[in-house]
């Protein structure tokens, strides 16, 4: 059952106003007020649909199933489940001021989509309440209501009406929408003959021309070609500049950083943090770490080359703030710290190869080529630290192979000694980075144009 304590409420309020001193002023003018919002799902209902027979058998097996569920209750970070219920959202309170672009982040199942669905009235909250002081439009999917058989023109009207535009309004904006989508020549072609790029452009163009005071956006920017994405981001920024409020759910940290003025983090259906996007995102990173992530014991390691004498005892990865981290933002420094214990004193030579999740080597850092430690005093036990000043890897998961030896050769080699994640950051100022299939390394470059 639901545990509702005033402690939770107070805790949330505190989180809510952290990082913005003008909290009191904000209450006066907030355009969205969310109070103790909760959404409960009956787990039995998550199946695609039920027949009457299911309901009849459910009456028989239901008590048995709930008994079984009670016996095998799982703890941990999953949303609070009790009996056949799951609280996808629990006790969430926050406020949004007009003109704010609020990012919402969280792992899968944290309640982001449920929050957006409740705010856009697709589903009703179980508890709590939301007050909205403006016209709302939600963009949970690109091309909602498009019909394959209808032409571009017809779909603009249909989709516009579904998203809440009046007919006259669509007619007024029609030419602008078509121009934005760059499909002037195909207005009267059925959309089933469109290329997927054209389809997406048209669909977004309709949505981009909604004029709500509050815009709720789910992960929809990850579509379309690069040039069009840029246009969409520009359009979203424009929306916010006109004083419109945007609530933006995304996994794309770079986009959140580029767009949002404030950020919420949900975890297990609850509000875990709110405030400055960078601060909230670092919490998100921390949440992703399993206990011990960012550090690994090497005394016994399955990846050790057979026959090698265990010498390396521990590896630790550190990020920008100097704490052990299993995830590093692109552009931040990365420190690889390896502790060793040898039979006799030695001048250690450490090498490490960073590999992609598919096993391809991306780069190697090794003192064998630099020789910076060649003159150090021999030691039997020490910590070798290698600092990569700017880690320019495209976001994704990477693994590290380690070699430890001395001037004569390597004698302890461990494959996949530790894995880490690279997180996006807004290096480009556009919120975008190249996709991982185009290469694992990001290089900064400058562009100019000249007469031929």
């Amino acid at each position: 059952m639901r545990r509702w304590t005033s402690v939770a409420w107070n805790a949330n309020s505190r989180i809510l106003f952290e990082g913005d001193g003008a909290a009191a002023a904000r209450v006066m003018e907030s355009i969205i007020k969310v109070e103790k919002l909760g959404k409960r799902y009956a787990i039995g209902r998550r199946e695609p649909y039920r027949t009457m027979r299911d309901s009849l058998t459910g009456a028989v097996t239901g008590p048995l199933r709930s008994l079984r569920a009670r016996l095998s209750r799982n703890g941990g970070g999953a949303p609070a489940a009790s009996n056949n219920h799951l609280w996808a959202l629990e006790d969430v309170s926050f406020e949004v001021a007009p003109g704010e672009v609020l990012g919402v982040i969280g792992r899968n199942g944290a309640g982001k989509s449920t929050l957006l669905k409740v705010l856009s009235r697709i589903t009703e909250p179980t508890t709590g309440r939301v007050e909205l002081y403006g016209r709302v439009a939600s963009l949970l999917e690109i091309g909602t209501g498009f019909h394959q058989e209808l032409t571009g023109r017809e779909n603009v009207y249909l989709s516009g009406a579904i998203m809440g535009m009046r007919r006259a309004e669509i007619a007024r904006k029609f030419d602008e929408i078509i121009a934005f989508a760059e499909i002037e020549d195909f207005v009267d072609t059925p959309v089933k003959r469109y290329s997927s790029g054209m389809y997406v452009r048209l669909a977004f163009a309709v949505a981009a021309h909604l004029e709500p005071e509050i815009l709720l956006v789910d992960e929809v920017l990850a579509v379309g070609d690069l040039a069009f994405q840029k246009k969409c981001l520009g359009k979203m920024g424009e929306v916010a500049r006109f004083g419109r409020t945007v609530l933006f759910v995304s996994h794309n940290m770079a986009a959140i950083e580029a767009l949002c003025t404030r950020c919420l983090r949900l975890s297990g259906g609850r509000l875990a943090a709110a405030g400055d996007p960078l601060a909230v995102m670092s919490g998100y990173v921390a949440e992703g770490l399993r206990p011990g992530a960012g550090t690994a014991a090497l005394d016994v390691h399955p990846g050790r080359r057979p026959g090698d004498t265990p010498t390396m005892t521990r590896v630790e990865l550190r990020g920008a703030d100097g704490a052990a981290a299993g995830a590093i933002r692109i552009g931040d420094p990365l420190e690889i710290r390896v502790a060793y214990r040898a039979q006799r004193p030695l001048r250690p030579v450490l090498g490490s190869v960073i590999r992609t999740g598919h096993g391809a080597a991306v780069f190697c850092v090794s003192d064998r080529f630099c020789g910076q430690l060649a003159e150090c005093a021999p030691r039997a036990e020490a910590m070798v630290v290698c600092r990569v000043e700017r880690l320019m890897l495209i976001p994704g998961t990477y693994a590290i192979n380690l070699w430890l030896g001395d001037a004569t050769g390597d004698f302890d080699v461990i494959f996949d000694a530790i894995a880490f994640e690279v997180l996006p950051a807004d290096l480009t100022g556009t919120g975008r980075l190249p996709p991982p299939n185009l290469g694992a390394v990001f290089c900064e470059a400058n562009w100019s144009i000249h007469d031929a």
Binding site: R45, V130, G134, A161, I162, G164
Partner: protein, 303 residues
């Protein structure tokens, strides 16, 4: 606006200890009223006629889409709207009129049966398409908000277009058989309005049930088939023994079709039967709409 703004005053039944602090503070901190309040409404909530009215353009475009898409990629196109009732009429006339010799109150059987088929076909089609409409538009329901009643409503509305086309045949037949149209023909408009409301009531109720129980999709064709035979379409009411007619009249379509024929043939209307049909239609419509609103909030979660 929020479905049923009366929810504003409704205490949230589920929320233990609603925060008096937050509620009490609201009027001071927030002088302007919110445009929209989202919270768990009570078990029964209002019909949200205002919300429906605000979405009238959407209703129009959904009807237009259904009509436009229905006969896409068919060689005969909209002609099917004429052919279907016409062929049914010919078959019924041959089998029931000629072979079985079913009486038709002294009127030509062809036009007699067509005057019954016309509203029935509309009802049949409207109920069938609207019952599948919510499930068929699941992608919309899970992605965007609008009053859900618009969806089954549009399915019924699209049926009216087919009805209007099929009605042309009706007039052609009246001309052919020399049935002079009288002032009673004007009654066809309110009669169709009544049929539409009844179809909307049954259709929206079935569509909501279908979201939860897909059995509706399989059961409904049989129900409609039986329904057609207990409605005086291929036979006159006079065909039924007088002491059983009241059973027949519990079916609003019975009163409607009788009045339909009275309008076509210029007979006197059975106002009592028509009033009963209107009463039952109202009850069905109100119950269906309230029940729809009750089930509506679950649609996105279970569809």
């Amino acid at each position: 606006m929020k479905p049923g703004d009366n929810a504003l005053l409704a205490a949230d039944a589920d929320g233990p200890a609603a925060p008096a602090r937050a509620r009490g503070a609201a009027p001071i901190a927030q002088p302007r009223p919110p445009m929209l309040i989202i919270e768990s409404a009570g078990r029964w909530s209002g019909l949200d006629l205002r919300g429906l009215w605000a979405h009238r353009d959407l209703l129009y475009f959904l009807i237009w889409r259904d009509v436009k898409v229905r006969y896409k990629q068919t060689a005969l196109g909209i002609a099917w709207a004429v052919l279907q009732p016409l062929l049914t009429m010919l078959i019924f006339t041959a089998i029931f009129g000629r072979l079985a010799g079913v009486p038709s109150d002294g009127e030509p059987y062809a036009i007699f049966v067509y005057a019954g088929l016309l509203p029935w076909n509309f009802f049949n089609q409207a109920v069938t398409t609207s019952s599948n409409s919510l499930v068929g538009n699941a992608a919309l329901i899970t992605k965007v908000y609008f009053p859900r009643l618009v969806i089954p409503g549009a399915a019924v509305g699209a049926g009216l277009v087919d009805f209007a086309i099929a009605a042309v045949i009706m007039f052609a037949m009246m001309f052919y058989y020399g049935v002079a149209p009288g002032a009673g023909m004007l009654m066809l408009v309110p009669l169709m309005a009544l049929t539409t409301l009844f179809a909307a009531g049954v259709g929206m109720w079935m569509s909501a049930l279908n979201v939860k129980y897909r059995d509706v999709r399989y059961a409904l064709p049989f129900i409609l088939q039986i329904w057609m035979y207990v409605t005086p379409i291929i036979y006159p009411v006079s065909f039924i023994p007088a002491r059983w007619r009241w059973v027949l009249e519990l079916n609003p379509l019975c009163g409607i079709i009788q009045a339909f024929r009275a309008a076509v043939f210029g007979h006197a209307f059975d106002w009592r039967g028509l009033a009963l049909a209107a009463l039952i239609t109202t009850v069905v419509l109100v119950y269906a709409a309230l029940d729809f609103r009750r089930m509506e909030r679950e649609f996105a979660d279970i569809i």
